[in-house]
């Protein structure tokens, strides 16, 4: 865990200083001023936007908690140099399940992608599933690189990305709904029951066309919402 990542958001000087003081009792040097290079004790040190300065220097240079200009604003959870992010690479890596998301530093999403992919693959040879699973696997296989590409682009532009963001924008009413986690739990319960012999996924898969219906209903809801008013349109693609 990189400590600077947390400290960027929060001025932590007091706590950190206290901690350091506890470890080295006399005149501890907690760091060196970024501006002057002077060694600092905890009393002299201050954090401005996560960087250690001496208090004197901070005053002189008029560094403050307030960002001087919008450009100086620290970016949230975006690495310092966006030049390192390549959407092309993200796309290529996206073909390997989970790796595209990991490239985008979205570990939870990467794991989610892997789980979904593995689940689909494991269902492929069950009898009676028809072409459904095949299409799903293809669909998912293509979704991942595009999603990674899209996310990488947004990260390149310096936008903050939610860890579980996706390509599909949910209708406004459902946006707050934790679809990913619910899907995961459902998948887990299904596979567990199947593994323990309490239920057969084969039997359930016969109802796959229900999924088409659900997707249809969701799309319909989206259309209706779109038609109902431009008021909500702004929030519709906020994700």
């Amino acid at each position: 865990m990189n400590p600077t990542e947390n400290e960027q958001n929060l001025p932590l000087a007091p706590e950190n200083a206290a901690k350091v003081e506890a470890e080295t009792p006399k005149e501890p040097i907690v760091g060196y001023c970024r501006g002057t290079g002077k060694p600092l004790t905890s009393a002299e040190a201050t954090y401005i936007k996560g960087v250690l300065y001496s208090k004197e220097y901070a005053e002189q240079a008029k560094l403050s908690e307030e960002p001087a200009s919008p450009y100086a604003e620290p970016m949230v959870s975006v690495p310092k140099s966006t030049a390192d992010i390549s959407p092309g690479w993200a796309f290529v890596l996206g073909f390997i399940p989970g790796v595209g998301a990991i490239y985008n530093q979205q570990y939870a999403k990467g794991m989610f992608h892997i789980i979904v992919f593995a689940s689909l693959i494991s269902l492929i040879d069950r009898p009676g599933v028809g072409p459904f699973i095949g299409f799903l696997v293809m669909g998912w296989f293509l979704y991942m690189p595009f999603e990674a590409y899209h996310t990488a682009q947004r990260r390149q532009r310096g936008e903050a990305v939610d860890e579980m963001s996706g390509l599909v924008t949910m209708p406004a009413g459902m946006q707050k709904l934790p679809v990913g986690p619910i899907l995961l739990i459902a998948l887990g319960v299904l596979f567990l029951l199947d593994n323990l012999g309490l239920l057969r996924i084969d039997d359930l898969l016969r109802f796959w066309p229900v999924l088409l219906i659900v997707i249809g209903v969701v799309l319909l809801m989206q259309r209706i919402q779109g038609a109902n008013g431009g008021v909500k349109e702004g929030s519709g693609n906020a994700n």
Binding site: L10, A108, M111, I115, M164, K176, P178, G180, P181, I182, L183, L184, I185, A186, L187, G188, V189, L190, F191, L192, N195, L196
Partner: protein
Amino acid sequence: MPTSIGLVAAIRGPVILITLGTLIAIDHAGGLRFSRTWPVLIIMFGVLKLAEYVKGGQQ
């Protein structure tokens, strides 16, 4: 200030790790095989993610 959402996010890794260890230990001890119990990991992960959403909603 640590928030409860941060707390839930932070314990996710350790909890998954403990679950993984427990499942494999059960397998080694001759109980239910890991090949049968692995979906528990997915469920745990989902539950923790869900808890994050719930906590997030409270604030």
